[in-house]
Amino acid sequence: MSTPLSATPLAGSWAGTLAALLGELPQALRFDHHRHDALARFEALGLPGRRDEAWRFTDLSELKARSFVRAAGDRPIDADLLVDLDTPHCLSFVNGHFAAWLSRHGSLPAGVFVGSLREAAEEHPEMLAGALGRVPGLEGHALAALNGALFEDGACIYVPRGVELPGPVHLRFIGVGDDVLAQPRVLVVLEDGARAAVVEDYLGHGRYWHNAVTEIRIGAGAALEHVAVQQEAAAAWHLGALRASQGRDSRLVLRRCAAGARFGRSDIAIDLAGPGAACEIDGLALVGDAQTLASHLLLHHAVPHGSSRQHFKGVLQGRGRHVFDGLIRVAEGALQTDAQQQSRNLLLSKAALATTVPRLEIYNDDVKCSHGATVGYLDEDAVFYLRTRGIGEADARRLLVRAFAGEFIEAVPYADLRERLERRLATYLGEGVA
């Protein structure tokens, strides 16, 4: 279970790190060929810099200036990191390593698998071989390649044809320590007509780096609701990639809240590969002073009758930065695509900076696409209106920010998670709004 701590620095010999890792991994999780391929891609691409178009607005130089070691999993965990969700299925990972003692398993319908990738490698090697690393998208993303080469464990959720997995699967990714790199991996496979829900939590203590990849394959008529909450430690880096492919008439709902980390970025690629596939993405970023949070999305409408909706909101304080970069690509022949994108930013400080890059690439006529972006300050008329009713200025400002962010929180389908997000928002506002 425990992995020896390697002192190999990030900037050093990657091949050596991979060789050491391959020696430790169970056979079914080795994927030697894939890992070597991924490493070659990472080495060719290198850590992205400002000259890369996709990284123009996000700066990794602070990260590059440090070196990291592979993180060990056998670390004590502070109780405040054990955020809970009311569900029987919970898998925890400490620095990317499965933590059985922080996990619990509920009863599952026949054929459903919920467990670590290492467990999946034992029980479902063929399924793993057919699915892991097979979802297209983010091919040019160096950090996803780095995860592909060096991930050590992660979560696997498999739901067979026509089966519904009751209750969400809660995945906790806990980072602990300084200058450690943890690279968890998530694989979700829903066969045709299957249904499931997943909540990923990212949090921790220290100056660690989470470089995570989530891979999702949704069969025809299947439905997945996926919630991700990034509330990493204030000194941590969070880089997360998510790629999903959707079959005919499938439905994917993503809800993504980003609040933690000194630097947090998500890269999301959705391939609406089957006709009639529908994808909805809701995002909320609570950006603090001197913090950068970014979301980069590609919605690829490959075939007709797909629909997608992106609705991202950012609240920014101090010298916070928020980047929303959303590309809708409608392929030739993807007739009657319905794609909408909206990004709204609320600046609570004159020094905050929001960057919105809406992009549409449409290669046929018969489509309905729209995008909208707003960036603004709090409505001072509304602040005054509330004050004339006896509500104090600070409370009035909080009330208005709460109203802006509340739409996201209210749509989260789990009461305990909604409460946690409310508390997070309250903390955020208590510190920042005068």
């Binding site: 209106y385 004339t388 009713r389 208005l400």
Partner: protein, 256 residues
């Protein structure tokens, strides 16, 4: 209750109010009428404490206290209410939640316990009936998507729930049809009592058929140029504001 003396106020360095004197006693309803740009809304906003309005001279005493040194929320908690000419839409804030936050902020200031949910609902429902407001509006975001008339009724509902001591109605009649006007006037009349004072600002005499004032003031060019009983409003309707031409004799006469 309220004593305004020699009040001068500017917006963006432009002097709008040029020496207002006005005394309103408890239980009285005063109307201020005047042409567009005469300073009516500025007077309302200065009383409520809107940022951007600078008082350059004069004072406003409210129950013996200097009103101008209080923050807008402190004025509200002390019982001053402004019904807005253009009520603000606040997406995402439920009307009922907003009312409850306001009521409890004021109660807290008075050292009273917060109203429990049941008492609060009873109070709001009773007042909503007063302005013939459908309860569905209570669950909607504040003023969002409300018609002009609904927004004004919502202002009167807030007034009825907050029970101010001194209420200023800034052109509450503007944009209302006759039925909505009656509803609003009935709401105000129901709240008239010997402890409460009103300042009703309007461009037209029409509202004063329904809310009959004790005193009518005519505001022209930032000064009150004439004051009288309700009959003054009728006379104004006859002869218009033309008689008080800018920098005209009437203005000088009443400024004395």
């Amino acid at each position: 209750m309220i004593e305004i003396s020699n009040l001068h106020a500017s917006v963006d360095d432009r002097e709008i109010l040029r020496g207002i004197d006005l005394r309103i006693g408890a239980g009285e309803v005063h109307a201020v009428m005047g042409p567009n740009g005469s300073g009516k809304s500025t007077l309302a906003n200065v009383i409520a404490g809107r940022p951007g309005y600078t008082v350059t001279a004069g004072q406003v005493l409210y129950r013996g206290r200097d009103l101008l040194e209080l923050e807008p929320e402190e004025r509200a908690r002390e019982g001053v209410f402004l019904a807005f000419q253009y009520p603000v839409e606040i997406p995402g804030v439920n009307n009922l939640y907003f009312l409850k936050a306001a009521v409890n902020a004021i109660r807290k200031h008075r050292g009273e316990a917060e109203l429990d949910a049941l008492d609060f609902m009873e109070r709001v429902q009773a007042r909503a009936g007063l302005v013939k407001m459908d309860e569905a509006f209570l669950k909607r975001p504040v003023n969002e998507g409300f018609s002009g008339g609904e927004k004004k009724r919502n202002e009167i509902l807030q007034m009825a729930v907050l029970e101010p001591t001194f209420a200023v109605l800034d052109e509450t009649d503007s944009g209302l049809d006759i039925d909505a006007l009656k509803v609003v006037a009935d709401g105000v009349n129901a709240l008239r009592n010997p402890e409460r004072a009103f300042l009703v600002i309007t461009h037209y005499q029409r509202l004063l058929d329904y809310i009959v004032p004790d005193v009518v003031h005519v505001l022209v060019d930032g000064r009150i140029v004439e004051s009288g009983g309700p009959e003054l409003a009728l006379a104004l309707e006859e002869r218009g504001y033309g008689a008080f031409g800018r920098h005209g004799g009437a203005s000088r006469r009443a400024g004395a």
